[in-house]
Amino acid sequence: MKTINCPLLGWRPVSEFTAAGVLEPEPADLGEMSAAQWVFERNNVPMRRTEWWYHGATQLWFKVLRDTATDTIIDVTTARD
């Protein structure tokens, strides 16, 4: 079973978590970008990126650094960090 080493909960099965997409802070100003570009454009090649992950049982949110080519989780931090 695949597990996640969580800073608060220790090793937990990945099935307890829900992946909630890439962490992408909303820009204060879209600048040159159109609203449609902000909503739809993805730079979606295989890469390392930080994502929001939610732990259902404790209702805690985590930031997870994950490689989307190999599905390896590199780092997990709490939402506050």
Partner: protein, 413 residues
């Protein structure tokens, strides 16, 4: 057959004729380069050669033909969609599919089974009625049936579904079918090759050359090819190929897994789908149960399989067919599904002159193989979008003009 065997015993050179003949060397120039030798890419090449008289075409693939999502899907063909664009498009595809064995002189094992989308609650039943009415309006055979009717066709089904989510009815689509997916790819390859199309396997495209907004060539490890038209049909690798052309994409890649059981005597002659249980199952001509589920829950550019998938899927299948408890799962695999925000494909011209897209086919590309090939061939040959694919243009995202195909996926995503 026996005579042929006897004849071969006396001659030295007894090799079967090759299905497609491709010269060992790439040419310096092609009129059209198609990236991706799956069903869609090969179908496009076939219709370009047959209907438009274009023969100087190369189909390039990073791996072997039909080795991507063409060879990884669960081969279900249906047209009971929800939007007018979707219903008409897939109905045309089914018409082409029914004639495809003759067209390609290749038996694609097209087998009409009837397709049940089970409803386990009132709200699913309501959507089923909506879909049935939309389908009938566009002359697609589709109706809502009650549990007794389902049992008449599939008496093995446990209608109370383990007691947790009893089946209250289903959307029944009599023309729902399955076909041999490899045969579709190989049949198109055979016919395209006959008309002079070159199919180069193990030839990845590493870059696309663009000058002043016009495609001028593609780069491969075997050399640079100059061409004015490139058609991209690479499913799960679409964002990478679009990035080569300098285009952003709205596509996200999710793994979609499937598995087959050991072969059994024929007992399941329909296709059973349940959105609530996230599963679809049919029996192949070899007797294996071909089963699939929903997308994996996180984006991933990989074809890895997981144990969680098999256990989760089998848990649900056993609710419907408890007698399968002792049956073994033989193989499992995954494909990379290119999902768009509105679950409709992205097809046609792009802001880059000469760069054409056939992408975003997510979990529903196989059933569209002939019509996607045909409309893309028209688009590439004429340089303007075929009227049937205008609703699926890349530009729809700039205008927030989405398609909203809720009937796209057999199971909810």
């Amino acid at each position: 057959m026996a005579l042929r065997l006897l004849k071969h015993a006396f001659i030295e050179d007894y090799a079967e004729p090759r299905w497609f003949n491709t010269p060992p060397e790439l040419k310096k120039t092609y009129d059209i380069v198609i990236i991706g030798a799956g069903g869609h890419g090969l179908a496009c090449a076939h219709y370009l050669a047959r209907d438009h008289g274009l023969h100087n075409i190369a189909v390039l693939d990073a791996s072997y033909i039909g080795g991507g999502n063409t060879g990884r899907n669960t081969t279900i063909i249906r047209s009971n969609y929800l939007t007018p664009e979707g219903i008409k498009f897939y109905a045309d595809s089914m018409t082409l599919f029914t004639e495809l064995s003759d067209d390609l002189e290749t038996n694609i094992f097209y087998s009409e089974r009837g397709h049940f989308t089970l409803a386990h609650n009132e709200s699913t039943l309501r959507t089923s009625r909506w879909r049935a009415e939309m389908n009938k309006f566009y002359a697609v055979d589709s109706e809502v049936v009650d549990p007794d009717e389902i049992l008449r066709t599939c008496p093995q089904l446990r209608i109370d579904c383990g007691g947790n989510h009893p089946i209250e009815g289903a959307l029944f689509h009599p023309p729902g079918a399955v076909a041999r997916h490899d045969a579709v790819a190989w049949g198109y390859a055979k016919q395209a090759s006959k008309r002079g199309v070159e199919i180069h396997q193990h030839t990845p495209v590493t870059d696309i050359l663009v000058e002043n907004g016009q495609v001028t060539g593609v780069v491969t490890p075997r050399g640079t090819i100059s061409t004015r038209k490139v058609m991209c049909a690479v499913a799960g690798h679409t964002p990478e190929v679009m990035a080569m052309a300098g285009l952003p994409s709205p596509i996200e890649i999710f793994p979609l897994q499937a598995c087959v059981t050991e072969p059994m005597k024929p007992w399941l002659d329909t296709i059973i789908v349940s959105g609530s249980l996230h599963l679809y199952v049919s029996q192949s001509s070899r007797g294996e149960l071909v089963m699939g589920a929903a997308l994996d829950p996180m984006e991933l550019h990989s074809r890895r399989s997981t144990f969680e998938f098999v256990t989760g899927l089998c848990d649900q299948v056993l609710d419907l067919f408890p007698f399968l408890g002792g049956v073994k799962v033989n193989r499992q695999w995954a494909g990379m599904a290119d999902m768009t925000p509105d679950l409709a494909p992205i097809m046609g011209t792009t802001p880059i002159e000469g760069f054409y897209l056939d992408a975003g086919w997510g979990t529903y590309g196989f059933k569209a193989t002939p019509i996607a090939g045909l409309t893309m061939a028209n688009t590439v040959a004429e340089g303007i979008d075929d009227s049937r694919i205008r609703a699926f243009s890349l530009g729809r995202f700039d205008d927030f003009n989405l398609v909203g195909e809720k009937g796209a996926a057999a199971v909810g995503h």
